[in-house]
């Protein structure tokens, strides 16, 4: 049997593997003198993790980084020799993240596309989401899992990194079994429709965390509500498990499911409901992606409306959207100044023993004060940056 993994595309490589008497590696690259030795070293190390089984490997290099090469080779070997025993790499050290940390942006990256994955960590996204679901064709799922696992091990993300798995019964369990050892901060569950589904994922995560020696409960869950059923049951979903840190809304699938056009009005019910369910459960709400890459003004407007509704962040399909998201979901200078005035006025009133206080002629009651305090704290967190 012959396995072909990867592609002859920039930043990737094509690996062809066949069963053979002895392990062997052939390398084709445009820069043989410069690169062959390095590529061979990566290939040898990858074969070593299987104890150098009888596989002949051909690598056609197109500028793939080491972890991409290693992932492609590993996938090819496993396809040719399904029973080959893989010595897992050393443990990935990545501290668990605070479930309440700011997530103004969640940047999607297709899990089997090295060209788009390389450098995904440098764009300042609060949360990078490596996707194994919709952006990966069924035939590429196995390759994508290995690539995402290797990427997680190789790249020290400055902020959060999550993985979007497939629905549990449609490959999601296999996804988890492969990628959790890469120690993602969280797992994103698509098409969430019930609390039961979330708890099932949580149980699965617990089993793996125990096996891998991670703190049980340290991996967060982000259910995506993107069906009519999901939106209607979002309270169950948001409250289902301690691991749920944020609930996301997905408009693309939702509009298809209910037969809606994608207008603000058509989505208002679903969005409002998702926000209310999230906040009732004490977790964050993240809005859907905005697909028109060329329209920065449209994105900014949708962000402003989402924030008005109570969303804490939004999905991004391209790094260039991130600055716009961050501007929209960070407190403005005006808001901050006002919040500081309110907190200051309340402190002064308390010290003078006054019960109520007014700022700019408006009564400051307890909820207003609470909101002002929260805003200041949030801004401080943003200023500090960092995932942990």
């Amino acid at each position: 049997m012959e396995a072909r993994v990867g592609a002859e595309a920039k930043g990737d490589c094509l690996v062809v593997a066949r069963q053979a008497e002895r392990a062997s590696v052939a390398v084709a690259t445009k820069n043989r003198n410069l690169l062959e030795a390095g590529i061979r070293a990566v290939a040898d190390a990858a074969l070593e993790t299987f104890g150098r089984p009888g596989v002949a490997i051909e690598v056609q290099d197109q500028g793939a980084l080491d972890y991409v090469l290693a992932a492609r080779i590993e996938t090819a070997v496993r396809m040719v020799l399904p029973d080959a025993k893989l010595t897992r790499a050393e443990r990935v050290e990545r501290a668990a993240s605070d479930p309440d940390r700011p997530r103004r942006s969640r940047l999607y990256a297709p899990g089997n596309n090295p060209r788009l994955l390389v450098g995904i960590d440098i764009h300042g996204a609060d949360c990078v989401l490596l996707d194994l679901e919709d952006s990966v064709p069924p035939g590429d799922k196995a390759a994508a899992r290995v690539l995402v696992r290797r990427l997680l091990a190789a790249v020290p993300f400055p902020d959060e990194v999550w993985v979007r798995i497939n629905p549990l019964d449609a490959g999601g369990r296999e996804d988890l079994a492969e990628v959790l050892e890469g120690r993602p901060h969280g797992v994103c569950l698509p098409k969430a429709e019930s609390g039961e589904g979330v708890r099932e994922l949580s149980k699965e995560l617990g089993k793996l965390e125990r096996r891998l020696g991670f703190d049980v409960g340290s991996t967060h869950i982000m259910p995506i509500l993107e069906t009519a059923r999901g939106v209607l049951r979002c309270e169950d979903v948001a409250e289902a498990d301690e691991r749920v840190a944020v609930v996301a809304f997905g408009a693309e699938d939702y509009t298809r499911d209910v037969g809606a056009r994608r207008t603000h009005e058509a989505l208002l019910f679903a969005r409002s409901r998702v926000v209310a369910a999230a906040k009732a459960a004490g977790v964050q709400a993240s809005d859907t992606v905005y697909a028109d890459l060329a329209n920065d003004a449209g994105l900014a407007e949708e962000c402003a409306r989402a924030r008005d509704l109570g969303f804490d962040g939004k999905g991004a399909i391209n790094p260039r959207q991130i600055p716009i998201l961050h501007r929209a979901f960070s407190p403005s200078e005006d808001e901050l100044a006002k919040a500081r005035t309110i907190v200051e006025a309340a402190r002064e009133a308390e010290s003078r023993g006054l019960g109520a206080v007014a700022v700019d002629g408006r009564m400051v009651d307890q909820p207003v004060l609470e909101r002002a305090r929260r805003l200041i704290k949030y801004a401080e967190r943003l200023a500090q940056g960092g995932a942990a």
Partner: protein
């Protein structure tokens, strides 16, 4: 053999000339006089038009061993270099020295002419296939000499390079020898690069596909310099002057670099009314130019001038009143050519004006900021644009040295991670431009500031920009790739890289093995 100021080993001679080792970007002082120009005269009613290239070669008395020159404004679309060299070959000429302002892939037939000894020496520039051929052992009689645009002009004025016949592709010319590149059937942009050739060459031949009645203008090439005018069917394809480098990048990494670059400009202290900059081609530079225009608009800043190669991006800024002028030696698209014809604020320059070290003024010295690319940079901020990491000579210098030396803030925009070949290295394979004139290196993983520019470092830090040590950026990028092997160079010198003042900043040696 001596070591120059950068520690590079320079042989005592390059070909038949004594080599002067590079001593610093502005170390050389001008002295003496420029070379004399040949005496020429015309008689009334003289007819300068000749029917064929062969007729011109004959009339000029071009013989084996002589030097001929060309410009590159048609880039990949050029027909004239091949046309002339084919004619020389047919006429049995040998051992010619060619002195082009640049060569491109379209000039691959030169390889055949070198193999058959029609061409034996090259001065000026080497790009693509000819460079690859020489790197792989194809023999020239003497090492090639690479010069910047300003350096080439200076070398001709100094008499270092004597040109016997200049062949000047002219999109429009009159029978009396006035010629322009911005009019005619196939405009290619200014042809001012060869104005110095036209004045210093023993004979000057204008080659046009559009002979128009006297007077043709603007007169980049003047009647007083031109000996003959030849009309041919085709001189070049203007569709190719863009060289495919005029698409705004859509790579997230490059866009991030472009944005960081513009943020750095904003924080640099130069970003105020009267600001001047050099844009250039290439997806990343274009994106940076576009973002810069957006920021100038937001900040209501009016720049003094933008320097080309002219592009639609610069022309749009001029039309919107964001800059007061464009100073242009080349055009990178047809919009720039149209603007040169129509807008008096779009000013044509020659390299003698914008880049000549031996002159009392260079437009590049008036630049506040410039964005330039690089094949490699090293921890001393030296830049290589000539050779690849495998030692192959593949690119000319262009205006890199002239702009870098001139601009108050020279910024190299460069991905820290570019496939498996690291762009940030310990020591560049070849030094094109010395670190002392490179101020900032902008990568997707942070901005490195030359220690000589503590002022900029402070400003960038204060603006919250990600200022990092170049070595740290390198280490971070190198984690993702196995080290590459390095070429081992022999003694044989295949090319000399001249600094713009005529000293030798580095040489390219033949690769003999691998570390």
């Amino acid at each position: 053999m001596t070591r120059n100021a950068l520690g590079r080993e320079i042989p005592d001679r390059i070909g038949s000339r004594k080599a002067i080792p590079f001593g610093g970007a502005f170390a050389k002082t001008a002295a003496g006089t420029k070379a004399p120009r040949p005496q020429k005269a015309a008689v009334q009613h003289e007819d300068k038009v000749l029917p064929t290239i062969e007729a011109a070669i004959e009339a000029c008395g071009l013989a084996s061993g002589m030097t001929i020159s060309f410009h590159h404004s048609f880039r990949e679309g050029d027909r004239v270099i091949n046309l002339v060299l084919d004619a020389c070959a047919r006429m049995g000429l040998k051992d010619l020295r060619i002195c082009p302002t640049a060569l491109f892939g379209v000039h691959e037939p030169i390889v055949g002419h070198i193999e058959s000894s029609v061409v034996s020496r090259i001065e000026g520039s080497l790009n693509g296939p000819v460079g690859a051929f020489i790197s792989k052992g194809g023999k020239l009689r003497e090492p090639a000499v690479l010069r910047s645009h300003g350096g080439r002009w200076r070398a001709i004025e100094a008499g270092t390079v004597e040109i016997d016949v200049a062949f000047i592709a002219a999109p429009q010319a009159d029978p009396y020898g006035n010629a322009t590149g911005i009019r005619g059937k196939t405009p290619c942009g200014p042809i001012t690069f060869q104005a110095v050739d036209a004045q210093y060459a023993r004979k000057t031949v204008v080659v046009t596909n559009d002979l128009a009645p006297y007077p043709v203008f603007p007169m980049e090439i003047q009647q007083g310099w031109t000996d003959y005018v030849v009309v041919v069917d085709e001189i070049g394809d203007p569709a190719s002057i863009t060289s495919g480098t005029l698409q705004l990048t859509n790579s997230p990494t490059n866009l991030l670099i472009a944005r960081l670059t513009v943020e750095a400009v904003k924080a640099s202290g130069y970003f105020k009314d009267g600001f001047s900059f050099q844009g250039g081609a290439g997806g990343l530079s274009l994106a940076a130019t576009k973002f810069l225009g957006d920021e100038m608009e937001k900040a209501k800043i009016v720049g003094s001038f933008g320097m080309g190669g002219g592009t639609k991006m610069l022309v749009d800024m001029l039309r919107r009143g964001q800059i007061r002028a464009i100073l242009d030696g080349q055009a990178f698209d047809l919009d720039a050519i149209a603007s040169l014809r129509e807008d008096p604020a779009h000013v044509m320059m020659d390299p003698g004006m914008y880049a000549n070290y031996d002159s009392r003024g260079c437009s590049t010295y008036k630049l506040d900021a410039a964005f330039l690319g690089a094949t490699e940079v090293d921890l001393d901020f030296n830049v290589n644009v000539n050779t690849h990491s495998d030692g192959q000579l593949l690119h000319g210098i262009g205006g890199h040295q002239d702009v870098a030396a001139g601009a108050a803030m020279t910024m190299i925009t460069l991905p820290a991670l570019r496939g498996r070949i690291p762009p940030i290295v310990e020591h560049v394979t070849t030094v094109t431009t010395p670190g002392e004139v490179i101020d900032v290196i902008v990568t997707e993983r942070g901005i490195a500031v030359n220690p000589l520019r503590e002022d900029l470092r402070e400003r960038f830090r204060a603006a919250g920009l990600p200022v990092r040590e170049l070595g740290d950026i390198k280490r971070e990028a190198d984690r993702y790739i196995q080290p590459v092997r390095r070429p081992v160079f022999g003694d044989e010198v295949i090319a000399a890289i001249e600094w713009r003042d005529g000293t030798v900043i580095d040489v390219v040696r033949k690769v003999e093995g691998w570390q």
